[in-house]
């Protein structure tokens, strides 16, 4: 019996001794907190995620352990993993709120920018192929490659959505699959936060000063309320016909947007944007963070994921710029190729980066609203790509 008591006091220390990687994760959690709190980078997600990492790596992992037979329910965070992540509920509810927060009028008033949002998806596929090329070293298959690629979409909930689905898919088919939900999510949010550091040098390298000084006049015509109401409905139908698997992401995003724009359900829209969003973000962040116990996260693969994620961001930026330049060759109405870089999503960070660079190159050149077009189009593009991945991958690995 006395051994029990001694065990009681030392079981925590013993667990740390046996699983030193968990203690290392505390440092990583601390670093993410520092990044989120002191540096104020994506704090709304990084604070919950980082604390989730900490909680998942405490001795004995009380918050992430499965239900024991002895009247102990499953850990608090495991509950949300199983009932929030694996069911897609949390990412989709975030999408609901994002839809209610997003103003699509830049896309409606200048639909050409949709193409720039499409171009940026090249980043997803370059990273996907890159991941497959590293297969011999890191044992990445198509499932992992899809999850890593989608980081290039620069869209947190979509990344979480796809990575969860790919993990589940592998598990259910008995195909070996690494658990990289947490790593891809952290990579996505980190690079989204770092967009102001990542993009400017790339933009400068791939554009001439003259190009960066191209002035774009304000759009000629304002978007009618009717167009704003019809847009989410049409968008849902068109994308769902062409890529049915994208319909959950696109449909819920657009439902949120319809609530915003229709003007008669203000109280629903407000709750979707605020209280519901906040509740979901707290739980989603903790749940995602808790997918990263030390033995899952501390692998060479994780470094590869971060490198590939950066490649994806860079490629997406380049693709957007190059298409913009291409469009300038064929169209007489010149666009500033910098706005192509905003196609990576990372809403609205990437658009702000463009705006600031434009101001420096030529004070008074207001590109923000022009950059919001590809910026938001990138969200739609990435949701479409997610649907494509969900359609193709099961057939290819089956």
């Amino acid at each position: 019996m006395e051994t029990d008591y001694i065990n009681l006091i030392f079981e925590g220390f013993i667990d740390i001794y046996n699983n030193p990687r968990n203690a290392i994760m505390w440092l990583i959690a601390g670093f993410l907190m520092y990044f989120g709190i002191a540096k104020k980078k994506e704090p709304l997600l990084l604070v919950p995620i980082s604390f989730g990492v900490l909680l998942a790596n405490l001795p004995l992992g009380e918050l992430v352990k499965p239900s024991s037979g002895e009247g102990e329910p499953m850990g608090f965070l495991l509950f949300f993993q199983e009932n929030g992540l694996h069911t897609d509920l949390l990412p989709l509810l975030v999408f609901l709120g994002l839809g209610a927060l997003t103003d699509f009028s830049p896309v409606i008033s200048n639909p050409k920018t949709l193409l720039l949002g499409a171009a940026a998806q090249a980043g997803v596929f370059v990273a996907l192929i890159g991941t497959l090329l590293l297969n011999p070293i890191f044992d990445f298959g198509l499932l992992e490659a899809s999850s890593v690629g989608i980081i290039g979409g620069a869209d947190g909930p979509t990344t979480i959505f796809i990575a969860s689905r790919m993990k589940e898919l592998g598990n259910s088919l008995g195909v070996g699959v690494q658990d990289i939900v947490g790593a891809t999510a952290v990579a996505a949010y980190s690079y989204m936060a770092l967009v102001p550091l990542i993009q400017p040098p790339i933009i400068k390298f791939f554009t001439t000063k003259k190009e960066r000084q191209i002035v774009m006049p304000p759009p000629k015509r304002e978007v009618s309320k009717r167009a704003k109401i019809l847009f989410p409905i049409i968008c849902t139908i068109v994308i769902s016909i062409l890529v049915p698997k994208a319909s959950p992401l696109v449909g819920i995003l657009m439902f949120g947007n319809l609530m915003r724009e229709c003007g008669v359900v203000e109280r629903l829209s407000s709750t979707a944007q605020n209280e519901l969003m906040n509740i979901v973000v707290i739980i989603l962040g903790l749940a995602v963070g808790s997918t990263m116990p030390g033995e899952v996260f501390l692998k060479f693969q994780t470094i590869a994921i971060f490198v590939l994620g950066l490649v994806a961001f860079i490629t997406a930026t380049i693709a957007g710029i190059l298409l913009a330049k291409l469009m300038n060759l064929v169209s007489k109405e010149k666009i500033n190729p910098m706005i192509g870089a905003a196609g990576v999503s990372a809403v609205p960070m990437a658009a702000r980066v463009v705006q600031e660079m434009a101001q420096k190159e030529k004070p008074g050149n207001m590109l923000l609203m022009h950059a919001m077009g590809p910026n938001i189009a990138g969200v739609i593009g990435t949701a479409t790509v997610a649907g494509v991945l969900l359609s193709l991958v099961p057939g290819l690995i089956g």
Binding site: S105, V107, I108, S109, P111, K112, L114, L115, G117, A118, Q121, A122, V124, F125, V126, L128, I129, T131, L132, L133, N135, G141, L142, A145, P218, P219, R221, E222, V223, S224, K225, R226, A227, I229, L230, F231, I234, C235, V238, I239, L242, V243, G263, V264, V265, E266, R267, S270, M366, M369, A377, I380, G381, T384, V385, V388, L389, L392, V393, L396
Partner: protein, 103 residues
């Protein structure tokens, strides 16, 4: 497997472009019909008088200034409209207020 990836990428990018081109066409159609507005839903627009100046993209700077100033002071104006629309059930509590409106 890398070949799979290449195939996927090719098809994937093609589909994405196809989708967004379709969307582009649809929006252009939408905008085209929007310029000659039918009488049908016009009332929607008139009711939203508050948003009128919202997309007057000339004078943006002034607009931003104004909206910022307003938004900072009364960040929850929307709550006052929370009961917009004319739902029976959800406005049940307001029965005493009896805001005379077109029932």
């Amino acid at each position: 497997m890398v070949l799979d990836g290449l195939y996927m990428s090719l098809i994937g990018l093609a589909v994405v472009f196809m989708v967004l081109v379709f969307l582009l066409i649809t929006i252009n159609l939408l905008n085209y019909f929007d310029r000659k507005p039918s009488k049908k839903i016009i009332e929607v627009e008139t009711t939203s008088t508050l948003n009128k100046s919202e997309s007057n993209i000339e004078n943006v700077v002034a607009a931003i200034a104004l909206s910022l100033a307003m938004s900072e002071k009364t960040p929850q104006m929307n709550i006052s409209n929370k009961n917009s629309g004319s739902s029976n059930w959800l406005s049940i509590g307001q029965q005493r207020l009896f805001r005379s409106r077109e029932v």
